[in-house]
């Protein structure tokens, strides 16, 4: 069964990266987050005081660090894809491991941040902003875990020589999902830590 999305037969330049399956997953993920962003806007409009004071309650350094880690990890994923296109299998595997390390670093920082929150009384009761913050970040965290699992799969497949310059759809799909998770965080970061 052919899953790759090919260019139209009339010869229009370029192709859509990845496969149909991963794009269904990505669009579902972004739709899910879009609904959360609408919920955020609704609660911000109906509970403005909570949201005005909310970002100051959070550990901004942890939020910035996690954003930089996600972006850097996404950059490593780009390098992994470029390496496999040059048939540099070891290089691709190493860049994927670096990408995964970024994902694990994100989870570690997030665990530290949640611990810091608890120590400073930032718990999800009685405050719409804090509830929304946990709703957004926990959901995103789950997607990061899924993305890490996809990266582990791609690392193993790369190590066993499953990908080549001509056929690396699985690797490309894993990195696409990772970028989609990055996209969601690009929106969550300012909503939680910046916007008042």
């Amino acid at each position: 069964m052919e899953l790759a999305i090919r260019a139209p037969a009339d010869g229009v330049a370029g192709t859509v990266p990845g496969n149909r399956g991963i794009w269904v997953g990505i669009l579902c993920e972004l739709t899910e987050f879009a609904l959360m962003f609408v919920a955020y806007a609704w609660f911000k409009l109906t509970h403005p005081a909570d949201f005005h004071n909310g970002p100051a309650m959070l550990n901004t350094a942890a939020g910035v660090a996690n954003t930089v880690v996600m972006l850097t990890s996404g950059y490593f994923a780009v390098r992994a894809l470029a390496a496999i296109r040059r048939n540099e299998v070891t290089g691709a595997r190493n860049w994927l491991i670096a990408t995964l390390a970024g994902g694990i670093a994100f989870l570690v920082i997030k665990a530290f941040e949640f611990r810091w929150n608890i120590d400073h009384g930032v718990v999800g009761t009685g405050n719409s902003f804090v509830a929304m913050y946990y709703y957004l970040t926990f959901n995103h965290l789950v997607h990061v875990v899924w993305g890490c699992l996809g990266l582990i799969w791609a690392i193993l497949r790369t190590s066993f020589g499953a990908y080549s310059p001509e056929d690396h759809e699985g690797l490309e799909s894993a990195t696409l999902y990772w970028h989609a998770t990055d996209l969601a965080w690009i929106v969550i970061f300012p909503l939680a830590y910046v916007l008042r």
Binding site: K44, L45, R196
Partner: protein, 91 residues
């Protein structure tokens, strides 16, 4: 490192710079309304950069690319809408 990777490197540095800029805005440098506008613009730019240079959605006329890019037009508008609530508090 080929041309595409060099470009991706510059994009990554730009994304990190925009992130640090966002954090700076969060320190209350400007009015709430102006901050919301700048945050919305930064989110839009960052999203479009990732879609173009990291995800590789470059095919002209692609409905998928249009849909993804539209996402990073609609969401910043939503941020502006949400930011208007802050104007009430910040007045």
């Amino acid at each position: 490192m080929d041309t595409q990777e060099r470009r991706a490197t510059w994009v990554w540095l730009g994304l990190v710079g925009l992130t640090l800029g966002s954090a700076w805005l969060g320190e209350g440098q400007f009015s709430i309304g102006l901050t919301a506008v700048m945050v919305a613009l930064i989110v839009g730019v960052k999203g479009l950069l990732v879609i173009r240079h990291f995800m590789g959605l470059t095919e002209k006329g692609s409905r998928l690319r249009l849909l993804m890019r539209l996402y990073f037009v609609v969401v910043p508008v939503l941020i502006l809408l949400a930011g208007s609530a802050g104007l009430v508090m910040g007045a």
